[in-house]
Structure formats: C-alpha cells, structure tokens
Amino acid sequence: MKKTRLGMYSLAIGAFALAITGCGGNKQESTDNTAAPAAGAPAGKTVDPATAGEVTGSVKLDGTAPKAKNINMAAEPACSKARTSPAMTEEVVTGDGGALANVVVYVKSGLEGYSFPAPAAAVTITQEGCQYHPHVIAMQVGQNIDVINKDQTTHNIHPIPKDNREWNESQPPGAAPIEKSFSREEIAIPVKCNVHPWMKAYMAVMPNPDFQVTDKDGKFDLKNLPPGTYTLVAWQELYGSSDPQTVTIGPKETKNVTFTFKAAAAAGD
C-alpha cells in the first residue's frame, strides 16, 4: 500500500513537472527565410528597360480624416522617455489637400509571364519610441525584411498573416536585427507587439516589384513597366482595397492615375 502511494505521488509530481517544463525545446520554428521563389513569378520574360513606361499618380482622401488618437505610454518609462513628440495613432495619416499616406499602390494584374527575382537588398522596419517606422511597409515575395529595435526596452514582433507562416519573436534592447521573409503574396499582414499593445504596423508582400507605399504627399510612381494593360489597386489599413483601375501604357509612356478613398467608407471615430 505504501509503495502504491509513493508511486501515485511520484506520478503526480512527475506529470506536473512535465506540464510546467514542457515536452520539448522552445525554439521558435518561424522563419520563412528559405522561401520558395516568388509566387506568381515563374521563370519568364524580363522587362526591357528600353521600352518600359511608368504609372504615376496620387492617393487622396475625400472627406475628413478621423482624428489621430494620443497614445499614452506613461506606464512604460522606456517608451515615454524615448519620445521627443507625443505619440499618435497612424491609422489615417493625411497631408496637404487630402493626400493620403501609408497607402500601398500595386499592380494587381498585367505582369503575368514576367519573372521578378526577389531583390537582394532587405527592407527595414524599426522599433523606435515604441512605434514602428514605417507604419506600413511593402516588400516582394522572398525579399528579406530586417526588424531593428532602437528602444531601450524589449519588444516582441508578431505578424499575424493569413496566407504566410505566423511567427512571434522577442527582441531585447541592443539585439541584432531579426531577419525574415514571407513566401506568399499577401496584402496586408498586421503586425503587433504584445508587450506594448498599441504598437501596430502592416507588411504587404507583393508578387512583383511594381508597388509603392505613399508618403504624406500621397504620390506614387510605378516605374519599369513593360508596355501593356494593367490593373492597379490601392490598399489602406482602415479603408481596405480601392476599386481596381485599369491603365494601358505604350512604350516609354507615362500615365497618371488618381485613387480616392471616401472617409465615410469606414466607421467614424
């Protein structure tokens, strides 16, 4: 009987120890660094610079933008001390004349059959003042993205994709950049920091190099497009995707396109 009891206790303690120590290592299997070649970019034609044209244009907001909200970082001295200006939300950022920033403008179709190897240069997103800079970033499928922490506090970087592999990694102050890539086209992947839940960003993963994220002037310039007919779309985090616009360009031709989002298209603030 005594032996039975001892056995029961050992079993109970062993099982609990297993529960709190885990059954395996804690190495995060997350990297997509061995990404497959760009989806939608099989070996194919290359763009001839001698005939390539471009599409320029701008993105505007029709109506009054929702007011940016103040982010209270008082509970995190490492964040609040790093700020030289008040931290504000960046859901809708406008410039003069309703120009809309942080909009991804991209070629949705028309480049099929062309081959676009991922660029060797990485794009960079930086955590500084406990916000992401830039707030919206775009990259090509398979292109590396370096995540940098300039803050004197720990962050975790947690993209929440639908079509790519999810990952979540911590980055203490002074740590080396985290290098990642995404293997599938996706617009756009929300990114958050669970340590500082106000930190939000978006990563757009595009199948070709013809995309751009607008600045405060709302302008974009898609270069190196071979002659042809293209469908262009603009995406904004609050307003979503615009209606597609079709544009045809000839050799060395430049066309202008304007996207307009309606402020009333999203719930008011």
């Binding site: 009891r5 206790y9 109970a12 609990f16 979540n168 911590s170 839940p197």
Partner: protein, 335 residues
C-alpha cells in the same frame, strides 16, 4: 465568495418548511469523523489562490499580453524575463499558475493520504489532472499563437478546475460532514432539477463567453446564453426563496445568485460597450480592461455559487423518489 464557502453561515435553523413538514435539523457542529479542519482550510486556500489565478489570466487576455512572452515554458529563455509591458501580466500569470499547480499537488496528496471517501481521493487526482492539462493548454496557446479553440479551451478548463477546487472545499467542510435531516421540496420543478439545469447553462455560457473573448464566436451566442442563464437563475433563486425562506443556507444561496446575476448583467453590458467604444483606440484602454476582467471573474463567481447551491441543495433536499412529508430516513450523514 468565501462567505459562501465559509460554511458556518450555513448552519441550519430549526425550521418549518413550506411543505408543511416540521423537522428538527441538527446543528452543523454535530459532525462525523470525516471532517479534517486543516485539510478544509488548505482546500479553501487553494480555491482562493485559483480565483486570483483567474484574475491574472483575465488580465493577460484583456491586455492582449498572451504572446508577449514568445517562448514556453521558459520566458525569454530564462526564469526572470524583463518585467515590462505585457510581460508583467503574462509572467505573473505563469508564476501564480505554478503556485496553484504546486498547491494542487499538495491537495491531491493530502486527500489521497487522509480521505476516507474513495471518491474524494479521486476528485483530488481529477483536480491534479485538470491543473496539468491546464498548464499544457497554456503552453499550447503560446506555441500555437493562440488559436481560438485552444485559447477558449484554456479559459474553459480554468473554470472547470476552479469549480473542482471549490467542490473539494465544500466536501471537506464541517457543514458538509455534519449530520442533519433532509428537507422536503414541495414544489415543481424540484430545486434539485432546476439547479442542475442552471449549473449546466452557466457553464455553457462561460464557454460561449470564452469563445467570444478569444474570437471563436461572435457576441450573439453569448447574448442568448445570458438570457437563458438569467431566466434559470431567477427560477432557481425564486424557488429557493419561496420554498425555503426559513433555511438560511438555501436562502443565502438565493440571495447571492440574485446579486451576482444582476451585477454580472451590468458588467457584461459595460464590458461589451467599452470594447466597441475602444476598438479603434490605442490599447490597452484601462476602463475596457477593468470591466472585462471583472466581468470574466464575476462569471467564475456565478459558476462557483451555482455549484455551491447545487451541492447544498443535493445535501439538504430530499430526492424526488422520497415521499414528501415522509417521517422516515430524515437523518443523513455525508458519504
């Protein structure tokens, strides 16, 4: 809540119940040899710590801090992660969970060693199994990036585990182990039946609430559940008040159920409104966090009080097959 678990309050008055049968009920002090005061106090302490753990868990979810520590079981590869931002909530939750786990090992071992009732010894082991499973589910939520089914299961098992420890606290109390007469339940439906349906509905409602919080379902199922639970609680508490107004234990259960369901409905409305209002504000919004956490843990209290009501009803009231008003077999000792 522990005025509920502090079972001295449930001393039974000499009473004439509304069924018209007068019974001289023995005081709780007359108990059999099963009662073990240190064990009961330890069980109550474990239940209190589990309640604190529920608060800590609700704070993690409401602050969206569940993945602030990307690894598990270690935290940032160590036992002492940097205590900043959401890490404070998540790590504190893990530490309290470990303490509750250790307490549960102690509880299971003590029950196994000291309990004369076989089913109590197995209940202790069930609690231990529950806390182990809960730890594993917690680890899975971290490693699998909080899939709604796993997160909701983690939240649901938390309530089940809490209920188990509360039940152990009741079963080890002097009141439960005392000797007294059973009371007739003259009404229809019987309280024993009503309270079981209410308990099941409350538990289902907690699952729906967890699924809503963890983005598994929308709000509609939880709202429908709230209506059903409210109706059942009012039916149960109403029956207890009408039929057993002179039995303090049952009257107190009815009072606590009425108070808790009222508070919980207000908190639920407040929590949902704060969630809608603050959806586009930079998180965390303290008012939303506070309302949601209090709503969540009040839900656990509703479950605990409903469970205690069910246990007391089953302990005090005659089962349906015993003829109402029968003079036979009215004294019962806990088994």
């Amino acid at each position: 809540m522990f005025s509920v678990l502090s079972l001295s309050e449930f001393d039974i008055e000499n009473t004439e119940n509304r069924g018209g049968t007068r019974r001289d009920l023995e005081p709780a002090a007359k108990m059999n040899a099963i009662y073990n005061q240190p064990l009961h106090r330890y069980a109550v302490f474990t239940a209190c710590c589990t309640f604190v753990l529920l608060i800590a868990g609700a704070l993690v979810t409401s602050n969206d801090a569940g993945l602030s520590i990307p690894d598990w079981p270690l935290a940032y590869g160590s036992l002492t992660p940097p205590m900043v931002g959401g890490i404070r909530y998540e790590f504190t939750h893990r530490v309290i969970a470990t303490c509750v786990g250790l307490l549960t090992i102690g509880l299971a071992a003590w029950l196994w060693r000291a309990e004369k009732r076989d089913w109590m010894r197995w209940l202790g082991l069930a609690a231990l199994g529950g806390v182990i499973a809960q730890g594993i589910l917690g680890g899975m939520t971290v490693r699998m990036f909080q899939p709604p089914p796993v997160s909701a299961a983690h939240a649901t098992l938390a309530q089940l585990f809490f209920s188990t420890v509360v039940a152990i606290a009741v079963f080890t109390s002097s009141w439960w182990n005392g000797t007294f007469a059973e009371i007739d339940d003259p009404g229809k439906p019987r309280v024993r039946t009503l309270v079981v349906w209410t308990l099941a509905a409350v538990f289902l409602q907690l699952i729906l609430g967890a699924a809503f919080r963890h983005k598994g379902f929308g709000i509609i199922p939880h709202l429908i559940g709230a209506v059903i639970v409210t109706i059942l609680i009012f039916m149960t508490a109403g029956a207890l008040k009408r039929r057993f107004a002179d039995v303090s234990a049952l009257r107190n259960c009815a009072r606590y159920l009425h108070i808790l369901i009222g508070v919980q409905l207000l908190l639920g409305g407040g929590a949902y409104w704060s969630r809608l209002y603050s959806a586009r504000f930079p998180q965390p919004i303290p008012a939303m966090v506070a309302l949601t956490v209090v709503h969540t843990v009040t839900g656990a209290l509703v479950l605990a009080v409903t469970l205690v009501t069910a246990l007391i009803s089953y302990r005090m009231l005659k089962p349906a097959h015993v003829v109402v008003g029968s003079a036979s077999a009215s004294e019962q000792v806990a088994h």
